[in-house]
């Protein structure tokens, strides 16, 4: 199925990605080609087939609820591009 540029733009926003108009054009063509290929799956009769989400279907795996040490705040923040020693810093979320 061919994709439109509008669809690809919408998916870009959902993906939190930005593209130049040129990138958008080539991406639309590439994705269209790939989606066209995976449309092959439509041929397969899957009536009554249970979806298989995992290769090895384990039962629930549980653990005792025990407290263990984890990363310190300092360690957890160490890779943050912007932080103030207490938390991650982000742009204003609410309007100005």
């Amino acid at each position: 199925m061919a994709l439109t540029t509008e669809e690809v733009e919408k998916v870009a926003l959902l993906s939190r990605l930005q593209f130049t108009p040129q990138e958008l054009a080539s991406l639309t063509a590439e994705l269209g080609k790939i989606v066209g290929y995976v449309d092959l799956l439509g041929e397969v009769d899957t009536t009554g087939v249970e979806p298989m989400a995992h290769a090895i279907e384990l039962l629930n795996v549980t653990q005792d609820d025990q407290t263990r040490s984890s990363l310190t705040r300092e360690e957890a923040l160490a890779n943050a591009p912007k932080q103030n020693g207490e938390g991650y810093l982000v742009p204003a979320v609410l309007g100005d």
């Binding site: 593209f19 995976v38 087939v49």
Partner: protein, 512 residues
């Protein structure tokens, strides 16, 4: 005698006997890296001082009579996708260029516990997405057998390092063939264990229901050694299997009596390179001459495997990679610049009287996500995020993701039926030998189709191994893929060893 031409098993014996030291051995590999890696580009980073210091410490402990781990003193290269506390782990992405892992992945912890010497980090396709190691944000890796060709991918650095004698043992990861495909193209042995055999704790996620860590080396025995060092239950990964992994030991060298080797007619269809086909046919004949019974089997859904994979893997990737937001860790776009851009855009929209568009502009936070991701992720990673997001978006979920999960079960049923008739399945790893660097750059779909023979083992979760079975007239390695039922790594390794013992493809080294 050159230490680096010996197998890891032999090196371990020499170290134990006191006939070589880990410092000597580690230095020998560092020298190999110094002379070859400028051409090959297998390593992203090495830390000679640290490696030598670790080797020295192991030598000292050995001299002091301490009991040592199973890989004591042997260098291991690690794909740059597994976390090591305090060290950079980049996934070959600008996004994680400066990331330092706050904890050890289970695989790295087990290598440390086995007293292996961590030699350095190998190159890969960014976030393990690709089949040629060309999607690395930092450098391409070249095939040691022909420097104008790619080593395959995504664990191309891991395979090239072993092929070029720059590491005896190497850790890779395999989501759709990323260990087996480069192993085949570089003429080394690589195994993807059963899904869940090796803990994924601290493995940077690509597609969580498919990702599996595994070993690469020059021989089946070395692959078994490294596998046994890293595999086994781990309470930190709930998908890690509870089954203990028993060492195969001397049994490895015993041929399997009455082995039934299957070959799928679908693996020898049109599009298979004639030299690859003939090498694989000869390998089958070799098995027959060793007393194995050959059985033709059928995998009727195999023609849907790539389509199934390229729905499921991107869906999981789009979800896993949502964590790269420019906030918690990784690359962040210039905030001041983007706030100014947004303000200017708003002003121009308002001036044009388009109040609706002005009000619907991204918030600075959303724009920060978008910019950070767009500036730091490469084209293939973006393509897969887009593909996955599309397939999971409302209105398409059932037609793509759910459908693919159903076909995945049918594929597994194909394999279950095959393994009712045979013990292992043998066939090609890829339809052609190593490709010219850049030859698939503009055709992502053609690149995806290279994964034709390898993705099924990931979708079905079964163990699979690639080992050298020939050379093209141009001298490029050809790989043989063996697949076995879930948890039958021992059978897989023994079947591989049986073939290896009868041939000498693994003894040749590339002409560097």
């Amino acid at each position: 005698m050159q230490l680096t031409s010996l197998s890891a098993a032999r090196q371990i014996a020499l170290l134990r006997a006191g006939e070589a030291s880990s410092v000597e051995l580690t230095q020998a590999y560092l020298d190999q890296i110094a002379s070859h890696d400028g051409k090959v580009g297998a390593f992203l980073r090495i830390d000679p001082e640290r490696a030598i210091a670790a080797a020295r410490k192991i030598d000292e402990r050995r001299t002091a009579g301490e009991s040592l781990g199973c890989l004591a003193g042997v260098p291991v290269a690690v794909k740059d996708i597994l976390a090591e506390r305090g060290e950079r782990t980049t996934c070959a992405s600008r996004m994680l260029e400066e990331f330092r892992a706050p904890y050890d992945s289970t695989v790295v912890a087990r290598l440390k516990a086995a007293d292996a010497v961590l030699l350095g980090r190998t190159n890969m396709d960014e976030f393990a997405m690709g089949g040629a190691t060309e999607n690395s944000a930092f450098q391409p890796t070249r095939n040691p057998w022909d420097l104008s060709r790619s080593p395959g991918g995504s664990s191309g650095g891991a395979a090239a390092a072993v092929a070029a004698g720059m590491a005896p043992l190497s850790i890779g990861t395999d989501t759709g063939g990323s260990i087996r495909q480069p192993a085949g193209m570089c003429g080394v042995v690589g195994m993807k264990p059963t899904y869940g055999r090796v803990s994924r704790y601290g493995l940077i996620a690509f597609a969580s229901s498919l990702d599996q860590v595994g070993p690469l080396a020059r021989s089946v025995e070395d692959v078994a050694l490294l596998y046994e060092a890293i595999a086994g239950p781990d309470s930190r990964d709930s998908t890690c299997l509870p089954n203990e992994v028993l060492p195969v030991g001397a049994k490895l060298h015993q041929p399997l009596e009455g082995l039934r080797v299957g070959y799928a007619k679908e693996h020898f269809a049109e599009g298979l390179d004639s030299e690859v086909a003939s090498a694989v046919q000869q390998a089958l004949a070799q098995y027959e001459s060793l007393g194995a019974k050959l059985v033709e089997v059928s995998l009727p859904h195999s023609r849907y495997a790539v389509a199934t994979y390229y729905v499921i893997a991107p869906c999981e990737a789009s979800s896993n990679l949502a964590r790269y937001d420019g906030i918690h860790y990784g690359y962040r776009a210039d905030q001041t610049k983007l706030v100014a851009e947004l303000a200017a855009k708003k002003k121009s929209l308002e001036a044009a009287g388009d109040r609706h568009a002005a009000e619907n502009l991204d918030t600075p936070l959303v724009r920060l996500y978008c910019k950070s991701r767009s500036e730091a992720l490469g084209p293939e990673v973006k393509r897969r995020i887009m593909l996955g997001t599309y397939a999971l978006s409302s209105g398409y979920y059932e037609a793509y993701y759910l459908k693919a999960l159903k076909v995945r079960r049918l594929l597994r049923q194909d394999f279950d039926q095959v393994f009712d008739q045979v013990d292992v399945l043998a066939g090609p790893v890829t339809s052609s030998p190593a490709l010219k660097i850049g030859s698939m750059k503009d055709d992502p779909l053609a690149m995806y189709l290279v994964d034709l023979f390898t993705v099924s083992a990931n979708l079905t979760g079964i163990p699979a191994l690639s080992l050298p079975c020939g050379r093209t007239t141009a001298g490029l390695p050809i790989g043989l893929q063996l697949q076995a039922p879930p948890l039958e790594e021992e059978r897989l390794l023994r079947a591989a060893r049986m073939y290896e013992q009868a041939t000498d493809w693994q003894t040749e080294a590339p002409p560097l």
